[in-house]
Subunit: 184 residues, 2 copies
DNA sequence: AGCAATACTTACCCACCGTAACTTTGGTAT
DNA sequence: ATACCAAAGTTACGGTGGGTAAGTATTGCT
């Protein structure tokens, strides 16, 4: 009896090994079962990708939380947050591509889901901080999406080039995020 | 004789009408030709999506340029730039989804292409401005990707919700971009 | 032992991308 | 005028991948 988690583990292994273009048959083969079993456990390709996007989102949130630790709100915290996101997405490169790829109908849904999971805790913190500073907290949600979109595209670009160390890029992105284009 | 441009026009029409999930057969039907003609003119699905992404990228660049006009570098210019991007992507909603969707192998390539076309002029302006201000211009390229990634995800989110006017959202995003999370 | 439910496999269908082989049309040389 | 050939296009097919229906083995219960 192969349970749902083992199928997802197998999917992650074969995606990591063979890239984001893998078929369900390949995943079933890797899991040591046949295709209908995959359907019984996790559903079709869409459900599989959804489940994997939940795993990836959870890892992003955990990595971000661990990196931030109890740093105070500020540029150092932001740098840690950015670098955690960059590293995690680079670490799960093909999984990231698998989750954000797929059919045109699913891509936006999952992209937004992946983003939303990261934005939710971030928007809360951001709203609290701005309220505390006497600023309008209404911008928290769009700003959270803005930050995550920034990180995702920068990650995608960085993943394909990998021409500079993660720390440098994280510093640069954090500077933009913290001080803006206007500069300090 | 149906030329390449007419096939691309037909593709845009059917994508707008039926959504981003359309097949090549549907596009060929709309163009009034058979499938092999589509292959002879524009190549396969990948080449078609590439060609459409070039069109979309060109429109983004043109819209941005027109919106900026001869505004001086600053928050007002940034707001115009952001709003031009939001509106253009919303106007070409399904085309945007078609271009950024597709197989896992093509998605990152085209996403980066679409981004790169917007980032190139922006990175140049940004580098020039920073040099002029006595600041380090080395961050221009990663910052340009950061800005475009921000705009793309915010657009995607906004497109699916459409819960606030474009001007307000553009103001909010421009504020983040110009002044950063730290605030003015 | 016999029966039934569960778990899985084989075999298949369908949609879609891509292409090979066949047909038509229009111009051209003899 | 006719036979030929190249261009342009259509029909028909192969291959792959997602998804499912029908058949088979295995386990537990009476």
């Amino acid at each position: 009896m192969v349970d749902r988690g083992l199928v997802l583990d197998a999917a992650e292994r074969v995606i990591r090994r063979d890239g984001a273009g893998v078929s369900l048959d390949a995943i079933a083969l890797e899991a040591g079962v046949t295709k209908p079993i995959v359907y019984a456990r996790v559903g079709g390709r869409t459900d599989l990708a959804d489940a994997l996007s939940r795993r990836l989102a959870a890892r992003l949130v955990i990595a971000a939380g661990a990196a931030i630790g109890d740093l105070a709100y500020g540029r150092a915290m932001l740098t840690a947050f950015v670098e955690a996101n960059l590293s995690t997405l680079a670490e799960h490169r093909d999984l990231f591509l698998y989750v954000t790829g797929g059919t045109a109908a699913d891509t936006p849904r999952r992209t937004l889901y992946l983003a939303e999971r990261s934005t939710t805790p971030m928007a809360q913190q951001l709203a609290a901080w701005r309220t505390n500073q006497g600023l309008d907290p209404a911008v928290a949600v769009p700003w959270a999406y803005a930050v995550i979109g920034m990180l995702h595209l920068v990650s995608l670009w960085w993943i394909t080039e990998m021409d500079r160390p993660a720390e440098l890029l994280a510093e640069q992105v954090a500077e933009l995020l913290w001080s803006g284009l206007a500069g300090p």
